[in-house]
Amino acid sequence: MSVKLGLLALLAEEPRYGAQLKASFEERTGGTWPVNVGQVYTTLDRLERDGMVRAEEADDGGRILYSLTDSGREAVLEWWSTPVEREAGPRDELVIKLALAITSPGVDSAAVAQAQRSASMRRLQQLTRLKQSVDPAVDLAWLMVVENQLFAAEAEIRWLDQVEAGVRRYGRPDSFASEVVADERLENRR
């Protein structure tokens, strides 16, 4: 996963300045993925070039406000509606996606979780078939590899259940409030 999709998701909520995007991204995803501001601007330039982001004229302070184009909005919707390919990228994408999904207004986080759960269950079904075909007496090492994958897939489903149960029990966190909490957490760490 590139930082691109995370930035697009934040811009889908409201136009933001580059520095704001960096701060929001880190806070909203619990500091899972620190990004430097240069990386944010390089990504924004690329997104502008690709027609997904629109940059306003610089204001008096020299700051540029970025907003999403229709094609950028489409890319975000596609991200929310497409399950993460676990093999394709770092594992953190799912955590970031859910953290943003449960705090982004208008995003059905239960649907995001369910899409992932179904994808993970399909994987678990495939691994179960695979496991049945392995003879442990012949290939115990291969069985362990398969089981490792199997438990990872199971753990992911259990975690998705827990996330969803939390949202159902406590309601969706207010994104502003969660940013304040994240601020305090960062303060305390210093």
Partner: protein
């Protein structure tokens, strides 16, 4: 294309009425065919137990139709329903529910005897079934002489003895450790591969993964389903 052994058509079940009415199921349609194992997952209160009770003819829907082996249950009288339940549906519970004063073989042949099969023929069929499952040596043991996993495998054999084509399993691995649970699932899977239709309710994603399809219930509605193998399932 074989006709489904179990079919639910737009089934709803409301418990109580007025302001306190609980909509346990809302317009659920699904089917289970011969040779197929379907798992049902969902949080507590999502309607799993209601679904299982309706599928097992233990309860009647508020609206919609349940069909077992081509028979629409809505038209049956209570007595006919009881007969259909006895002859067509096997149920497996978390706590095995074997009769403690009967041996494994006697437990398995009990439904056959209730259906009027001569005792000797029924015993023979029960022993053959136990042998099929690799439990031949346990035929004359009483439930308290069997481990939990063995008891549950006997319970599955009992659920599918005779003409029964539909087995409903309610958390069958709930009381078992992980490895023993898998042995029980292997038996259930094997019975379905041999032509039974199975509906499995479980909290365990790893156990649900033994099914051909996994259906998710939430607030009485099917929200999603996955299919492991399409369209035809190759035998593992």
């Amino acid at each position: 294309m074989t006709a489904p052994v179990l079919q639910l058509l737009e089934v709803s079940r409301v418990h109580g009425d007025g302001e306190t009415a609980v909509h346990a199921l809302r317009g659920v349609s699904m089917q289970v065919s011969a040779g197929e194992l379907v798992a049902v997952m969902g949080p507590s209160g999502s309607g799993k137990s209601t679904l299982l009770n309706l599928a097992g003819a233990l309860d009647r829907p508020t609206s919609g139709e349940v069909e077992i082996d081509g028979t629409r249950l809505g038209r049956l009288k209570t007595q006919e329903l009881a007969a259909l339940r006895r002859r067509r549906v096997g149920v497996v519970f978390q706590d095995y529910n074997l009769i403690p004063s009967l041996t494994a073989a006697e437990n398995i042949c009990l439904p056959l005897e209730l259906d009027g099969m001569p005792v000797l023929a029924a015993r023979q069929e029960a022993r053959a079934t136990l042998k099929d499952l690799g439990l031949g040596g346990l035929a004359d043991r009483f439930p308290d002489q069997l481990s939990g996993g063995q008891q549950q495998r006997v319970a599955i054999a009992r659920a599918l003895i005779g003409q029964r084509k539909l087995v409903l399993a309610d958390e069958p691995t709930g009381a078992l450790d992980s490895v023993t649970g898998e042995e029980v699932l292997a038996v259930l899977r094997g019975r379905c591969d041999a032509g039974a239709a199975g509906l499995l309710v479980t909290h365990e994603p790893r156990h649900a993964a033994w099914a051909d399809r996994v259906i998710y219930l939430r607030d009485g509605v099917v929200v999603d389903g996955t299919t492991a193998r399409q369209p035809a399932r190759a035998h593992a």
